[in-house]
Amino acid sequence: MAYEIETTPSAGITVLVVDDEHLIADSIAEILNRNGFQARAVYDARAALQEVERDCPEIYLSDVIMPEMNGLDAARIVRRNCPHVRVMLFSGQAATKELLRVAAGQGDDFELLPKPLHPQVLIAKLRGDHRLQ
């Protein structure tokens, strides 16, 4: 099956996508892969940490509200293990913003993306293209 591929090169940027909703994690990874990224999907924070231990991704894209370990705590560990990783958190709940504000106050300046987010906007953000953001 052939797919339309975005022409803008993403130079094989590695992305780890984390969301307890399998459909979201899988679809985002699929979209990113079709647009030149090298994305992997995992479904909880522990699996994400195991992945990160093996290999630091360039971008760590994670949901915030997840069972067992939340995305924010996991992101802090990821940032410690991989100081150069770009951490992007996305959430459908307003209260998340307060969490991030507190985290920023503690030195963890993570980017926040609101759910739902259109794939084109997501791709633009990951590529650092501000025109589409």
Binding site: M1, A2, Y3, E4, E21, L23, I24, S27, I28, E30, I31, R34, I65, G92, Q93, A94, A95, K97, P114, K115, P116, L117, H118, P119, Q120, Q133
Partner: protein, 630 residues
């Protein structure tokens, strides 16, 4: 009387009649023989022997009665004949000389016996009367005592014993002041001095002391006792215990005082709490209002008409019927009346009142009157309404937070899936067009979800935008609906005004207002859009833009108009969420603007106009931080 009036214990009635007769005649015999013995002992007395014998007959009559006296006189004659008259120790008599002497003796002895008997009878009568009087005094329910002129008690009846607790032997011989409380010592002296002057002391209400120290309330009457010569020799005191009555009177008096005080307090409370009281006499139909109630209802003092009709006239027409039903129900069933209703003052102002009452019935159970209170609860109603509003808002916030996550996640998944499907190169152009439409619609849903569920973040900074362009874009989006209803759009744009604002939100605002107008319009209706520079109508120094969205639809009734900005209030039950205007209002406020609405339902010129003022730039920057934190 110088002792207790208690009657002496009588001899037992068992003494035989015959024994009594023998005793009495024996006594007569003894007296007669004693006279004889005396004569024998003192021979000188024999000169007049009948003198002693008359004395014996008299004594017999006095102590043994008339019969024994006769017996004594017969025996005396025999003794005189045998022992005294010559010849002595013989029954022979000198008929001529002695018979006359014996006859005289018999006659005199009969006379003496008769007199003695009368005296005895009189003495019996006196004793009987005395005993009867004693018994009356003794059995009296009132305390009766007597005292001498020194105040020393000398008689004491059973009622006195019951009243004061003292036995006769404990009081007789003691001064009467022992019965009076110390502070009444003067009273005793006063009574004694009045008695000495022969005065009577009647109906004196005073206090006395029981043996156990308890105070007694008594009515006292003291009368002087006089001897045969009329000299006052003592006094009798009649004392009636009225302690119970006095206590009842005091209690009654206390109750009256308490009632008066309670009434005063009630009046004060009514005045302070602005509570009025009322009473409806069902028989006469008269209604009484307290001054407070007149004040509450805006009447000058004394101007309330005083009938049920007058009262009902003060009730809001919409509440009259239900109120009458409540009154009727109170009369027929419960006896309790409780209502909250709107009243109208003579100046036309409407306010809430609460009334509570109770039905009073007559002896056969017919309702007699309805009595109760009434108060102005307007402030309370306003406060309640405010609380309801804020609770509704708080509930809205909680609801938004809880459903945000549940809605945004599936939305994210669907958007991703549509995106993937849309980029499948094997898609037919038609399918791709459908998916593009679906993607656009999803974009709208996502935008709305973010805004309404509190996560909206217009990531772009406030931009300079032309208001008329945004209005036109919204009109384009609604083109199909405008066409299907054949609505005429009349645009009245001034100088193409510009403002600095969050474009997405302004678009949402105009979209809500225009969509509502289209919903309200009938076929062939007219939609008017007006936009121009204007000054803030509340703060004329602030420049901005005024946008009007008007329709000539059915209009919004007054009671609905007051609620249209409340969250979840909708008249479009099938399609509306009740959040559109609430959201629009918050967008306008975020831009430090204002929105007002005018509407009329009058046929022929019905319609609604929303007028929005948005400042040119002021306030937006300051508010943008708030918005991003929202």
């Amino acid at each position: 009387m110088n002792s207790s009036t208690k009657p002496a214990t009588g001899k037992p009635a068992s003494t035989g009649k015959w024994a009594n007769v023998v005793n009495r005649y024996g006594v007569a015999m003894v007296f007669t023989l004693m006279a004889l013995a005396l004569m024998e002992a003192v021979p000188f007395l024999k000169i007049a022997p009948f003198m002693l014998l008359v004395a014996a007959v008299a004594l017999s009559a006095r102590y043994a009665g008339f019969g024994p006296a006769l017996f004594s006189s017969v025996v005396s004659i025999l003794i005189a004949d045998f022992f005294v008259l010559e010849p002595r120790f013989s029954v022979a008599i000198d008929l001529h000389r002695d018979f006359i002497r014996i006859g005289e003796f018999f006659f005199v002895s009969l006379l003496v016996a008769q007199l003695a008997r009368q005296r005895t009878r009189a003495e019996h009568v006196i004793q009987e009367v005395r005993q009867r009087l004693g018994a009356i005094v003794e059995s009296s329910e009132d305390c009766i005592l007597s005292k001498d002129m020194n105040g020393i008690i000398n008689s004491w009846n059973s009622a006195a014993e019951r009243l004061y607790g003292y036995k006769p032997e404990e009081v007789i011989g003691r001064h009467v002041s022992m019965l009076a409380p110390p502070e009444k010592a003067n009273e005793i002296d006063d009574i004694m001095s009045r008695l000495r002057q022969g005065e009577r002391v009647g109906h004196l209400q005073t206090e006395r002391i029981h043996k156990n120290g308890k105070r007694l309330s008594v009515w006292l009457s003291v009368s002087p006792i006089r001897d045969e010569s009329g000299r006052v020799i003592g006094a009798s005191a009649l004392t009636h215990d009225v302690t119970a009555q006095v206590q009842v009177e005091r209690r009654l008096h206390g109750t009256e005082r308490e009632l008066a005080a309670a009434y005063d307090r009630l009046q004060l409370a009514q005045q302070a709490a602005q509570i009025g009281s009322w009473e409806w006499n069902i028989g006469s139909g008269k209604v009484m209002w307290s001054p407070e109630l007149e004040e509450i209802h805006g009447f000058a003092p004394g101007t309330f008409g005083g009938s049920l009709e007058h009262w009902l006239q003060t009730v809001h027409p919409d509440d009259r019927e239900s109120l009458q039903k409540r009154v009727l129900a109170a009369l027929q069933q419960g006896g309790q009346y409780d209502a909250e209703y709107r009243s109208v003052r003579p100046d036309g102002s409407v306010y809430w009142t609460a009334a509570r009452g109770k039905v009073f019935y007559d002896s056969v159970g017919r309702p007699q009157k309805l009595v109760g209170v009434c108060l102005d609860i307007d402030q309370r109603k306003i406060a309640e309404e405010n609380i309801r509003q804020s609770e509704k808002l708080a509930a809205t916030g909680r609801l938004a937070a809880s459903i945000a996550h549940e809605i945004n996640n599936p939305l994210e998944a669907v958007i991703n899936l549509v995106y993937l499907a849309m980029h499948d190169p094997s898609l037919s152009p038609e399918s791709k067009k459908y998916l593009t439409l679906a993607d656009n619609e999803l974009g709208r849903v996502a935008h709305l979800a973010k805004q309404t569920l509190g996560f909206y973040r217009d990531t772009s900074a406030p931009v300079r935008l032309r208001v008329t362009r945004v209005l036109d874009e919204v009109l384009d989006l609604c083109a199909r609906r405008l066409e299907s209803k054949e609505i005429t759009v009349q645009k009245d744009y001034g100088e193409e005004p510009e403002i600095t604002a969050f474009e997405g939100e302004i678009r949402q605002l105009f979209s809500n207002l225009i969509t509502n107008a289209i919903d309200a319009l009938p076929r062939h209706g007219r939609l008017r859009l007006r936009a121009d520079y204007a000054a803030d109508w509340r703060d004329s120094g602030r420049p901005g833009v005024r946008v009007t969205v008007a329709d000539n639809g059915c209009g919004i009734p007054g009671e609905t108009l007051a609620k249209i900005f409340e969250p979840f209030f909708t008249t479009k039950h099938d399609v509306g969420t009740g959040l559109g205007l609430w959201l629009s209002q918050s967008i306008v406020e975020k831009h430090t603007g204002y929105m007002r609405v005018r509407s009329t339902t009058t046929p022929g010129r019905s319609g609604t106009a929303f007028v929005v003022f948005l400042p040119q730039s002021a306030g937006v920057a300051a508010k943008s931080e708030v918005s991003s934190a929202a």
